[in-house]
Symmetry: C2
Subunit: 494 residues, 2 copies
């Protein structure tokens, strides 16, 4: 029996030149699912059923051998760790299909899928052990800068100097399948990057035509979209590639129209931002370290896009000469917390120089940095929030840097300030439930670097609720020495 949001797969013999599509039905519903050629004279249809009960399918194809194949199968409940695919929730946040909130605390290993086996496996284990909930990686192998390793498989057959995208290399794509499945097994979202500009003149995979793009995209969608942990990232630093915006619009449209599972769609920039207000963008994937280098910045992106904001490149913890790759772990963790109280999400990456001059962000391996355990701690704090997610309460005028769910739970991050005491103060904001005199709260002091949560051993009762702020009774709270502290303020009488 297939579990809900699991993968049903049917394999059919057929010639490489043929194409097949299947129609899956469940009661009155029908879903058309494209198949793909998987080499060895075999076509495959993969489908992820989103409802329990009996499903049937029948195929259509111009090839008699592949046409009219039918079957039925039973779908049962999801297994305990299967919450379904991730979608957008509460405008700025994410949740699994069963309603469980999903908190992106991701990392990046671009060339992961193309590494030698032991290195591939070491990275997977490191990402899982560190507790990251998303991994960004490239489908096409990286060439040039910082890349020593040459992969042993390429996506397409060669036709003289050019790639023949009509003849895929099944061994290459099965490796991508496996990467997605391996991440699924350890509970990590696969942020699959479809195109990238890091070819360095090596493989020519940055030189496909728009028509070739489409063949590749349709193959990849048919192959991968049934895995519930797939997110589509159209490109890393899309604007380094010499392609007009209209071509990227076309890629988005192809994905939207070809993907029966409607997985999340985003595109990541170098210096020019794509128009993330376009209707096919599900969430905003950004490079801009400056946006979380201080308060009051990243939240502006929420206003302009009204979608989840994922800062997928905020510079990296590392020791490279380039300024994008030499943040201290403390600075990186600090930026994650600024992202948090800005109502946005950030991604991690390590750019320590490793064996042979490559970078961990390219090749992976064991994490050497000091940020991962602090980010796992942040993940835990985020997962303890019961609701869609944390939104800035008084977005343009809040000296306390507070995000939360009005009248329920709040996080305040003190950043580089290291005051000896903290005085209870909450912004009122203009959206959601209003604070009232008499509301009672519990407060935890969080040390974001030392990963401690210390409850303040008394309650706080609101004694004054003004136009913009609310204040509680009692003495100021003594804080531990040092910076990077946060307060968690939870209502206890609600």
């Amino acid at each position: 029996m297939i579990e809900r949001w699991g993968v049903f797969e049917a394999r059919f013999p057929g010639s490489e030149a043929a194409a097949v599509e299947a129609r899956f039905t469940h009661g009155d519903r029908a879903v058309r699912v494209p198949g793909f050629y998987d080499g060895d004279g075999t076509h495959v249809v993969r489908f992820s059923p989103d409802a329990e009960g009996e499903w049937s399918y029948s195929t259509t194809s111009g090839d008699a051998e592949l046409d009219g194949r039918t079957g039925t199968f039973e779908v049962g409940p999801p297994s305990p760790r299967n919450h379904g695919p991730v979608g957008v929730a509460g405008t700025f946040h994410f949740a699994y299909a069963d309603g469980t909130p999903y908190r992106p605390v991701g990392t990046t290993v671009y060339n992961w899928a193309h590494q030698p086996e032991d290195h591939y496996r070491e990275t997977l284990e490191s990402v899982a052990a560190a507790g990251f909930t998303k991994l960004r990686f490239l489908v096409f192998p990286q060439g040039g800068n910082h890349v020593g390793h040459v992969p042993d498989a390429f996506p397409f057959a060669r036709d003289g100097d050019r790639w023949d995208v009509s003849r895929i290399d099944a061994a290459f794509f099965r490796r991508i399948d496996r990467a997605v499945r391996d991440l699924l097994d350890v509970g990590v979202q696969a942020d699959v990057i479809l195109f990238h500009p890091y070819d360095g003149g090596r493989f020519g995979l940055d030189g496909l035509t728009a028509e070739q793009d489409e063949v590749y995209l349709r193959h990849l969608v048919a192959r991968l979209s049934a895995y519930r942990n797939v997110w589509w990232s159209l490109a890393n630093e899309y604007d380094i590639l010499d392609r007009p915006d209209e071509r990227w619009d076309g890629v988005f449209r192809t994905l939207r129209d070809a993907d029966p599972h409607t997985r999340l769609r985003s595109i990541h920039n170098w210096i020019r931002l794509y128009d993330h207000n376009k209707p096919w963008v599900t969430h905003v994937s950004l490079q801009n370290g400056s946006a979380v280098a201080d308060f009051g910045r990243a939240l502006l992106y929420r206003d302009t896009y009204r979608r989840p904001i994922v800062l997928d490149e905020i510079k990296y913890e590392g020791d490279t000469a380039e300024r994008w790759g030499n943040l201290s772990a403390r600075e990186l963790v600090h930026r994650f917390w600024i992202a948090t109280v800005s109502g946005t999400y950030a991604s991690h990456g390590e750019s320590y120089l490793v064996d042979g001059g490559t970078l961990s962000i390219v090749a992976g391996g064991r994490f050497r940095g000091e940020s991962p355990p602090r980010l796992a701690f942040l993940r835990r704090i985020l997962e303890e929030v019961d609701g869609a997610g944390l939104d800035p309460i008084d977005k343009w005028d809040d000296p306390t840097n507070t995000a939360g769910i009005p009248r329920q739970v709040y996080l305040q991050y003190l950043g580089l300030d290291a005051p000896p005491t903290w005085t209870f103060r909450l912004p009122q904001g203009v959206v959601g439930e209003r604070l009232q005199v008499g509301d009672r709260f519990a407060v935890d002091v969080i040390d974001t670097w030392n990963t401690t949560v210390e409850p303040v051993g008394r309650e706080f009762t609101l004694t004054s609720v003004e136009r913009n702020d609310a204040w509680a009774d009692g003495e100021p709270v003594a804080l531990p020495a040092g910076e990077a502290l946060a307060l968690r303020i939870r209502r206890i009488d609600g």
Copy 2:
């Protein structure tokens, strides 16, 4: 003779219920211009010719009296102070039609057009004398908060409890005409606000239907668009009005389609931002004081919208209890300079409580604040920039807060820092001309509050150009005491 970008006006007798349109031709070009009813049995067609030479026109109307009227007129060169209408230039900036840069240093007097005559005139003189280059004001009178004065004219005739938008009050609209013309005479752009939510239940002009909107808009466009200083601001704080975005889209479309002069179009927010990436938005008009309360914020809007960013409400200099209305003059001027080095523009307003409890930002009058002469000084600095405008050079990673035109001219603003000396350092950025070792520069020290420009009496020659920064020879420059200093760095060998 009409001057280029001046106003040609033809008046025709006709009944109120009729409508007239004129077709203006110049060589092979033809422009269709709607007329409007101006009361007293008179229809008017206003047109601003954008080319010299002979123009002819002929009218069409369902009414025989108005149909087939023809004429010709000669258009000569513009007078010296007439540079044509303002349009977008260099993606993020503005220029007059003759190529002269236009620098927005605007102010706001919402209810100006509806004040008693002496007060109206005092405001006009104050705005002109202060050197502001744009004035935001409302077409519909304001009611409620801070408004004591009841206007003596309303835009439409009453039909019982409702407004009959098909019967305009010509006296009301002639007052708006005059306001636009008076501003034109003193060289100030008229940022005409078409709708607003400040009715306070008084006049009901916030309760028009979409159909009524359209009648009003078409009248206003026919009446005002020929004045070359008109900008259309669809609303102030549009999101306080209970109207779906689609209705605002419709207003934009009506303006775009009905305005033969294609004047600038924007919309101003309260807390929810309109999607300024929509194709009919010519520039971004924003409320967000926080965006210029510190560095690194406002420039994010440039990335998301790729249009000129005008921060039309950054809080006001004043003494009101509400936090939007009690900035010090120093803080307001500081914010303008942050806007400047962020590659954006800001607007001024005064919210001192004046006679009878109203605010200067509502009713106008003589400026009481200390910011206007400092903003006139900023205007002068901006007007001395020869080029489209100042863009952040290294937008997300520049500790020097530098905007400029690469390898030509730069402004660095030191903000609240008050260092004793300044060391020459320029960011390289990734766009435009590259700095080279040997490039020579002159430097001025600018005191933004005391409005002084002091040349540093020596040249600076680049001795080192690194990946991200360029450095010059010589000792650090001694700075005057105090904060809010800026450096102007001009290449002198180019």
